[in-house]
Amino acid sequence: MVSLTSYLIVSAALLGIGIYGLSVKRNAIRILFAIEIIVNAANLNFAAFTRYLDPPLVSGQVIVFYSIAAAAMEAAVGLALILIAFRLNSSIDVRKLNKLKG
Amino acid sequence: MVNLPATPADLIPFLFAVITSHTFIQIILFPGFIHVTLVTAFLTWYERKIIARIQLRIGPLYAGGPGGILQPIADGVKLIFKEVMIPYKADKPLFLAIPLALVVMAALPFAVIPFGQNWVIANLDVGLVFVFAMISLFPLMILIFAWASNSKYPFLGGLRSLFQQVAYEIPMWISALSIVMLAGSLSLVDIVNAQARIWFIIPAFLSFIVFFISVMAELERLPFDLPTAEPELVAGWFTESSGAIFMLQFLALYMKMYLMSSLVTVLFLGGWWGPAFLPQPVWFIIKTLIVATFIIIPRAVFARIRVDMLIRIGWTRLLIVALVNVFLTVLLITSGLTAILGM
């Protein structure tokens, strides 16, 4: 059978990919991709833990449920922000979003 | 349980065991692929015949069989042998892959649709959500295809399709919620079993209306066929498709129509239940075809609505009716009326 450790390793790899995207990319949409990947890594961990460590209860699944709903909102608001940034700067390079810089 | 073949010599008995298994025959014959394709082909002919009768024409006649019923086969053969035109600078892999994906997305949910007590391929615990999840992939596919066509009209049609399908998905889910509450299960088999005494169209009539209108919009049928509106957008999001590509899309659209009709049958019209003189799947298909008739008829009767009307109906009328309906259903269940109705 698949052990809990395998899920944790896959999730850690996903987290690593997400962190790489967050730290390297300058395109706002790619950064959103990276955030979604990280959230998914966390969701996978919650689902795996709740399945292996407290089987009659599904508390972890409840958290994933909330997380999925929150991620949908996050994407909607985030993309609206990207649209505004594009309208103001005609670019989605996050480095050009420095209007507040003195 | 059959084990995967360990050595090449085990392969032939393994394949034999797979091919002769009950599930495999169900997947291939009934209620699986061949049955779905045949009924879908029949639906294309049936639609043309009905529209023709309403408009005092005769419709397809010369392709053979009674009333030209072999017309879909003639159409299919013609389309397969036509050249596939790929627009200049189109995204070739996506352009060729998406029509196939559309057919898969339309065919997969039939795995959980119960055509009879034992005529279901997989009785999933979450059957209804599975169907909805697959339906929610359609706007994504259509948008990608429209973008891959690299042409103006498909892109506009794709955007319209996206707005429309996303807007009407929400009332559809919410109106199905009251059915789930009445049946107490997300499994389609359980939902049909709960209708043995009384069909859900009676206690949940409002939900049926909302669901049916949403289905019309999801299917992009008139009066909601803005994504493929001929006078404005040539042929909407499939303007650039031809030959086999067009055939696959056409197949997917009518398969989705069959899927939605059977979903209405499962949720509201008691699924396979009917007097015992006909077998269960026959009852199911008869009911489904009746629903399909009601989906087809508006095409010959109504005019197309405007985009702003479409969005307003979806977000300010249907959504509110669907939400009110949820409260009504809660009242119905808590007041004990469902017990009186024998559910």
């Binding site: 730290s23 390297v24 689902a47 699944q61 449920f65 993309l79 | 706007p139």
Partner: protein
């Protein structure tokens, strides 16, 4: 009939699909392909959920992430598309790529290392127990009713917020 597919094999395939698609989502030259790869990665995660006896979450994952989030992303990409600048934006500058790689690699290896070290103490096989879908609903409604209400309010707020943000000033 059921075919006895070894769970390890399915797990490895799912993991490979999910991880490769995640990498492609970030590295694909064309943003649209990146979004499609992201969708495939989400479907891989949904496969893991099925494996973890959470079929409802799997369907929700497909309906919400692939059916809504990816669609939104694609829509935004098509609105803000620039012919040349995409690729330029995604190319790391100077030592940035190496630093990011080191950071991400160290973090992932650290977490995976902790998980592997704790491995002997963790259960190797899941305890038996077929969880019905309704148990999720019962836990949601009975134990966490207030978070559910807050979530509903949050969704409404986010919907209105996104509408206000994206509205074009006249």
């Amino acid at each position: 009939m059921e075919i006895a597919i070894p769970p390890d094999l399915v797990f490895v395939i799912l993991a490979a699909v999910t991880l490769i698609a995640a990498v492609l989502a970030l590295q694909a030259k064309e943003l649209i392909y990146g979004a499609i790869a992201l969708g495939i990665s989400f479907i891989g995660i949904a496969g893991f959920f099925v494996f973890l006896d959470a079929p409802y979450l799997a369907m929700l994952q497909i309906a919400v992430y692939v059916g809504a989030v990816v669609v939104l992303i694609l829509f935004t990409i098509m609105l803000v598309r620039r012919e040349q600048s995409d690729e330029l934006l995604d190319r790391p500058e100077g030592g940035q790529g190496a630093v990011g790689l080191w950071l991400a690699g160290l973090l992932a290896v650290a977490i995976a290392g902790v998980a592997a070290l704790a491995g002997p103490n963790l259960p190797a096989a899941p305890p038996a127990g077929n969880l019905p879908v309704s148990s999720l609903g019962l836990v949601l409604a009975a134990e966490y009713p207030i978070p559910l209400v807050i979530l509903a309010l949050l969704i409404s707020a986010a919907l209105l917020g996104a509408l206000v943000l994206a509205k074009v000033e006249k």
